[in-house]
């Protein structure tokens, strides 16, 4: 899994590429969770993620809980169909802010 982050306006955008499975989820949670303190607005771009497991969902939820505890905002964007299916079945789609495209997500987070 490859994770690259950049600051766009007041939002930290994290671009993730690869499979978010049991082998990758701990690194994902630590890397992105570590950004919460310095970046109250987090946007995770899932355009490059084609597979997610329950370990990946667990990592996403851990990050969202940290963001909520710190009073910040969290969103996902550009989610591929196989991952969107898992997010919907698990109830995560109803729980998270998910945007079709990055620009749309950045505009929503800027409000």
């Amino acid at each position: 899994m490859d994770i690259v982050d950049e600051q766009i306006g007041d939002t930290r955008v994290v671009v993730v590429t690869g499979r978010l499975d049991g082998a990758a989820s701990t690194g994902f949670a630590e890397r992105i969770g570590g950004l919460v303190a310095s970046s109250p607005k987090l946007l995770v771009d899932f355009a490059g993620v084609d597979f997610v497991t329950s370990a990946g969902l667990r990592a996403v939820l851990q990050i969202v809980k940290r963001v909520k505890a710190s009073g910040g905002a969290f969103a996902l964007c550009s989610v591929q169909a196989p991952v969107q299916e898992i997010l919907e079945i698990s109830g995560f789609a109803a729980m998270l802010r998910i945007h079709t495209a990055r620009d749309e997500a950045l505009a929503a987070l800027a409000r």
Partner: protein, 141 residues
């Protein structure tokens, strides 16, 4: 009918490697990408459970798959703590992020994506059989 088989330790990096090989096999069989992803997800979730809750990360687990025109069927055999995944507690999917417990989704996803799921414990081994129905009118990956 073509078959895939492997014997691995239920550890995250090894499970990821297995899934790469398994997906390559399913692609060779022209199994559509959605079905292949569901099979990979089931294998990953079951093996992860065997390695953690089953306390069996140090003994080989046997994984076998076959693909035919209607479905992909799989068998996973381990010697960990006996547990029927059909008995796992249903998660509450309606809670918001603040209230929702972390975890508990793995076996829920296994049940959700299996068109058939059977379990038996025999002679100190756990036998899990599953099937994933192939998606109608779907092409290759």
């Amino acid at each position: 009918m073509s078959a895939f088989s492997a014997s691995i330790l239920a550890q995250p990096a090894l499970i990821a490697d297995l899934n790469e090989r398994l997906l390559a096999f399913l692609q060779e069989q022209n199994v559509d990408g959605r079905t292949a992803n569901h099979v990979a997800l089931i294998v990953e979730e079951v093996l992860t459970n065997i390695g953690t809750h089953g306390r069996c990360s140090d003994k080989p687990v046997r994984v076998a798959l076959t693909a035919d025109r209607e479905r992909v069927t799989g068998e996973i055999v381990d010697s960990g703590i006996p547990f029927d995944p059909r008995d796992a507690t249903e998660p509450d999917l309606a809670k918001d992020a603040g209230e929702r417990p972390v975890g508990g989704l793995g076996l829920f996803l296994v049940r959700r994506f299996s068109s058939a799921l059977e379990y038996a414990s025999r002679n100190g081994e756990n036998y899990l059989h599953f099937a994933v129905a192939r998606q109608p009118d779907a092409g290759g990956r």
